[in-house]
């Protein structure tokens, strides 16, 4: 469109800074979205790639959650006539201890048969022996690594590498190097193959396997084979294609993506208002141009199209830049995401490269352009309405009437009522999210009206502060509510999000602190892995008595937790001696009677479930649940619902004896240790290390360390509050600068007159500053108020879709109070530039047309 080149481009060139600021809104929104999305995807694809590569020709996998199962299951699977090949697998990650190398994914297999499923594609070194499976099997220290890993670490055939195992540090020998194709590219190349029987020792697994990978006989349909295997096994086993592991992971990550998506949605919304604001300004500034075009015979539609196309182009540029920025942010973020997933869910992953798929690119562009065009719509309509006669008269500015104010208010009220009604009406997703969206829209639609009311309320205050400047500032706001409402709306949204996230972190801290105080009260924790959530390594049960015999230890509790499928989603089953728990870390249940709960659960006649699980899955006290286990269905009633923050997806607490019986597994993840009164933490810790030195891999964490660990995770989880606050500040500065620029432009004559009749420069400046601060105050007032509503919704989302955390509604007063000076300062800072330009004739001229 030629007009774009002739009319828009010169303007953009002239106001390059502002034009960039305009697109910044879109850049921000798209970048946040792209960053979150690509980072999540990279982690997901990392897993899927690994799953895929590791799967090889595997058609189905037999698992029992992540609990593992006894070896004899393999023979049962192999005996199924439909099965062609079935091989056992143990998959575990282990910290290499090599700087910058991170985790190594260990795939432990039985080399005798595994090649029929997986091609190891061995790089043949000079030493022929490396390709000798016999040596590999005969020597339990054998390790096969990828070429990439070998190269990075200067390893070659027969190199030694020391890895921490359950038997202390052990030296491994590289006996095979895989080419970086196929299997070798799994887990970012950080893959090692080990003999499965050696791995049982290394990871303390006893005689169990994690998984059986299998291929079916030719001509056997997947479902048919699946059904046959399921028939041969008890219900605790899952038989599914390898790709479903990716899906499971996805469902875990989804919890996390929801909050990310809400953040990027807000960022886009905010971007929309920045765009709206900038376009409103552009229309004001270019009113004369528009008048000329209209006089020369441009149709209204041509003018409208011009601005819409401008919006579209801004959106396109913004989203393109946003994509690039988002990729950068994603790259920075992906490590965080991976770390957090490891910490929270115990999923160790090697994220894939951050990439922008054509689909995502298209989506980002469409979203960016659409947002921008929507935002530009109102200004474009205003531009089309510009009256050429008035536009062409120098010094006279058309006051664009606010139009359907009443209609808008009415719609807003209806929406507000509807959203309130939906709150009572339904708890299912559709009415809930509809209600949320309606609430946001209502708030946005009411913004101009409320902003006007607030400005009127502020007038006497400002006037009292500074009779002349205050009045002028307030009047400026009152006379042109449109000028400010975009900025105010953006500010409101940003602040409401800060409040909501702040409220979440406040409540999480409160809840978690309480839980940590009562439930996590042992003095020491002995774990097999430095990350409490990773369950790769396990202790044998025999270690319990050994620990108990250490001087200074009064009691120990043995904890074994596994993630198992339950009603279509994963849950964490935590087994512990319930009796000991009652004695040492007794907690009042949310539902149920404490005595009965502990007694029945301790006798193995019931399970305790966490409150978040009950919420997420709609479980009630007294309900009987069927938990699939390798030993058959565990059919037990819920005897109590407790607050437990062990897992985002929900926890089922059962007695250790029940676990041992059902899972045929008496290994231990964590020992909880209570010291004798007066025993020194450090001394006992040292004694534990002494006792197991060199023979056991273990980590001893003090209560304080565990508490710090959990709080750190919580911090990561709620760290978005700060990011959102940064967004709010940027929005404030951007919006206020824009608004003031227009305001000064609109009131150029007024300000000129003021100066002409003897107004001091200082007075003019103060007028501008006061206007800025007033905008910020209005934005704050609305934002903090809408924040209260938003917090409710976000808490509700957290409860229903993000981990079922039932958090108390606590308005984050301290955060709210902290925001006030921040935002006022931001407003003041953003007013400095415009204030100067208002008093400097030349600058004003530069802002003005011709």
């Amino acid at each position: 469109m030629i007009l774009l080149r002739l009319i828009t481009w010169p303007y953009v060139r002239r106001h390059l800074a502002r034009a960039s600021l305009t697109t910044l809104g879109i850049v921000l929104g798209v970048a946040v979205f792209v960053a979150m999305y690509t980072a999540n995807q990279a982690v997901l694809r990392g897993l899927e790639h690994t799953v895929d590569r590791v799967a090889g020709k595997t058609q189905l996998q037999v698992t029992a959650g992540d609990a593992g199962f006894p070896e004899d299951v393999l023979e049962r699977v192999q005996a199924v006539p439909e099965v062609k090949v079935a091989v056992p697998v143990i998959e575990a990650t282990l910290e290499t201890g090599l700087t910058g190398q991170g985790n190594l994914l260990v795939l432990a297999v039985d080399m005798t048969g595994d090649r029929s499923l997986r091609d190891y594609d061995l790089e043949s070194g000079d030493e022929a022996m490396i390709d000798d499976p016999l040596v590999f099997l005969a020597q339990p220290d054998s390790l096969m690594v990828t070429e990439e890993f070998a190269k990075r670490n200067g390893l070659h055939a027969d190199s030694k590498i020391v890895l921490g195992t359950m038997l202390g540090d052990q030296t491994f020998t590289i006996r095979g190097i895989m080419k970086p194709t196929g299997l070798g590219s799994a887990f970012g190349g950080n893959l090692a193959i080990m003999d499965i029987y050696a791995a049982q020792q290394v990871f303390g697994r006893g005689r169990t396997f994690d998984r059986v990978d299998l291929a079916l006989r030719d001509g056997v349909a997947l479902d048919q084979g699946r059904a046959a295997i399921e028939r041969a096994l008890s219900p605790g086993f899952e038989v599914a294609p390898p790709s479903s592991r990716g899906q499971q992971f996805e469902s875990i990550v989804q919890v996390y993506s929801i909050s990310m998506n809400i953040s990027s949605l807000f960022a886009l919304f905010i971007g929309m208002f920045i765009i709206y604001n900038s376009f409103a300004i552009a229309v004001t500034q270019r009113r004369a141009d528009i008048g000329i075009l209209r006089a020369l015979g441009a149709f209204r539609s041509q003018i409208r199209t011009l601005f819409l196309v401008e919006g579209g182009v801004a959106g396109l540029v913004g989203s393109a830049v946003g994509c690039v920025a988002g990729l950068g942010m994603g790259r920075a973020l992906v490590g965080e995401v991976a770390t957090m997933l490891e910490g929270v869910f115990g999923i160790v992953q090697q994220p894939a490269e951050i990439t922008l798929t054509p689909g995502l690119l298209l989506f980002a562009l469409v979203v960016g352009v659409a947002t921008s065009v929507v935002a530009a719509y109102l200004p474009a309509r205003q531009a089309a309405r510009v009256d050429p006669v008035q536009a062409l008269q120098k010094g006279r500015y058309q006051v664009l009437t606010a139009g359907q104010n009443r209609a808008r208010r009415r719609v807003a009220l209806v929406m507000a009522l509807a959203s309130a009604a939906l709150l009572w009406l339904g708890r299912s997703s559709v009415p809930f999210y509809t209600g949320y969206v309606l609430a946001i829209l209502a708030a946005l639609l009411l913004t101009p009206t409320l902003a006007l009311l607030l400005a009127e309320a502020l007038r006497p205050v400002l006037r009292w502060l500074r009779p002349v400047e205050g009045t002028l500032a307030a009047d400026s706001l009152i006379q042109a509510p449109r000028r400010t409402s975009g900025t105010v709306a953006a500010l409101m949204l940003a602040l409401a999000q800060v409040i909501a996230l702040g409220g979440i972190s406040l409540a999480s801290y409160a809840g978690i602190t309480d839980w940590v105080d009562t439930a996590l009260n042992p003095d020491l924790f002995v774990t097999a892995d430095p990350s409490l959530a990773v369950r790769t390594f396990r202790f044998p049960a025999a270690m319990g008595p050994e620990l108990r015999s250490i001087e200074g230890i009064e009691a120990i509790q043995q904890v074994r937790s596994v993630r198992v499928p339950f009603r279509g989603g994963p849950v964490l089953v935590v087994s512990v001696e319930i009796g000991g728990l009652q004695e040492r870390a007794r907690r009042e249940p949310v539902a149920g009677d404490a005595e009965t709960m502990y007694r029945l659960a301790g006798e193995g006649k019931g399970v305790m479930v966490s409150e978040n699980l009950a919420d997420l899955r709609g479980l009630a006290l007294g309900e009987t649940i069927d938990l699939p286990t390798p030993g058959g269905l565990l059919h037990l009633p819920i005897v109590g619902i407790v607050k437990d923050w062990s897992d985002q997806l929900g926890t089922i607490l059962i007695d250790r004896q029940v676990f041992i019986r059902q899972w045929h597994d008496d290994s231990v993840n964590i020992f909880r240790i209570y010291l004798k009164p007066g025993a020194s933490e450090a001394a006992v810790k040292a004694r534990i290390f002494d006792k197991f030195a060199g023979s056991r891999r273990l980590y001893v964490l003090t209560n304080r360390e565990v508490r710090g660990y959990i709080m750190r995770l919580t911090d990561q989880w709620v760290g978005m509050t700060n990011a959102q606050l940064a967004v709010a500040v940027i929005v404030a500065i951007l919006g206020i600068v824009n608004t003031l620029t227009v305001s000064i432009l609109d009131r150029r004559r007024e300000l000129g007159v003021l100066q002409a009749v003897g107004g001091l420069r200082g007075q003019i400046r103060r007028t501008i500053w006061m206007e800025a601060v007033a905008i910020s105050v209005i934005g704050l007032a609305l934002g903090l108020a809408f924040g209260a509503v938003n917090l409710h919704y976000i808490l509700e989302i957290t409860r229903r879709d993000v981990g079922g955390m039932n958090l108390a509604y606590m308005y984050p007063v301290s955060i709210a109070l902290g925001i006030v000076p921040t935002m006022l300062a931001a407003a003041f800072v953003s007013a400095l530039g415009p204030g100067e330009s208002a008093v400097r004739g030349s600058l004003v001229e530069a802002l003005e047309y011709e």
């Binding site: 002739l6 303007y11 015979g297």
Partner: protein, 229 residues
């Protein structure tokens, strides 16, 4: 209405609604025949510019009828009005109203672009017009590189872009020194004669008024004089 009339106003009244109602024109009747060159004079606030805006279809009367080239404006939509402006009227403003960021050529080409002309045809016509106003050597200059008189020539060239039958000029010499003003006036006269366009000029300048065959005097929104030489 007569076929020969280019502009016909019947009982045209224009009021501005504000805190205080202002009546700019009181039932003005006026006929400008095709091919005539008319000047409108009168003191500030007499309604000259309002009259011109109504004739130019930039504004609508509160009462009465405006007919341009046989077409009554009253019934037209905004787009219809725009179409009349686009196809039948050329505007020349006191402050030129050129877009400062565009070259002379681009400024002149602008109305043609709005009409959706092809790029080649547009540029051909724009060059032709600039030649016509003797600015053929200034095609790529921007307005701020030109003198006042040259800018007004560019504006005239732009007004002529589609050779409209009606040319409206609002104080075309108001912003120019008298010598330049005379040049511009000569150019307008010349175009009037050569192209046979109907010209309506609003002016303060008695020399401008006198150079027109007909002068209409406005005072307080009423025609108080209509003199033909």
């Amino acid at each position: 209405m007569t076929d020969s009339a280019m502009v016909e106003l019947r009982g045209v009244t224009k009021r501005f609604d504000g805190k205080r109602q202002v009546t700019a024109l009181h039932g003005v009747d006026l006929v400008v025949p095709r091919g005539e060159m008319v000047s409108i004079v009168g003191p500030s606030g007499s309604g000259k510019s309002t009259l011109l805006n109504l004739i130019g279809g930039l504004d609508r009367p509160s009462a009465g009828e405006v007919v341009i080239d046989g077409q009554a404006l009253a019934g037209l939509t905004d787009d219809g009005l725009t179409r009349v402006r686009r196809d039948k009227i050329g505007f020349i403003f006191q402050f030129f109203n050129l877009l400062p960021t565009l070259t002379c050529l681009e400024n002149v080409a602008l109305p043609l672009h709005l009409r959706g002309w092809s790029r080649r045809r547009t540029l051909e016509r724009a060059r032709e017009l600039l030649d016509l106003v003797q600015l053929g050597h200034r095609l790529e200059h921007r307005p701020d590189e030109l003198s006042g008189g040259e800018r007004q020539r560019v504006a005239i060239a732009r007004a002529l872009s589609v050779y409209p039958p009606l040319l409206l000029a609002d104080e075309p010499t108001g912003n120019l020194d008298s010598a330049t003003g005379a040049d511009i006036l000569a150019l307008v006269r010349d175009l009037h004669e050569r192209l046979g366009a109907t010209v309506v000029v609003v002016t303060h300048d008695p020399t401008v008024a006198e150079s027109c065959a007909r002068t209409i005097t406005l005072r307080d929104g009423l025609i108080v004089g209509d003199e033909r030489r």
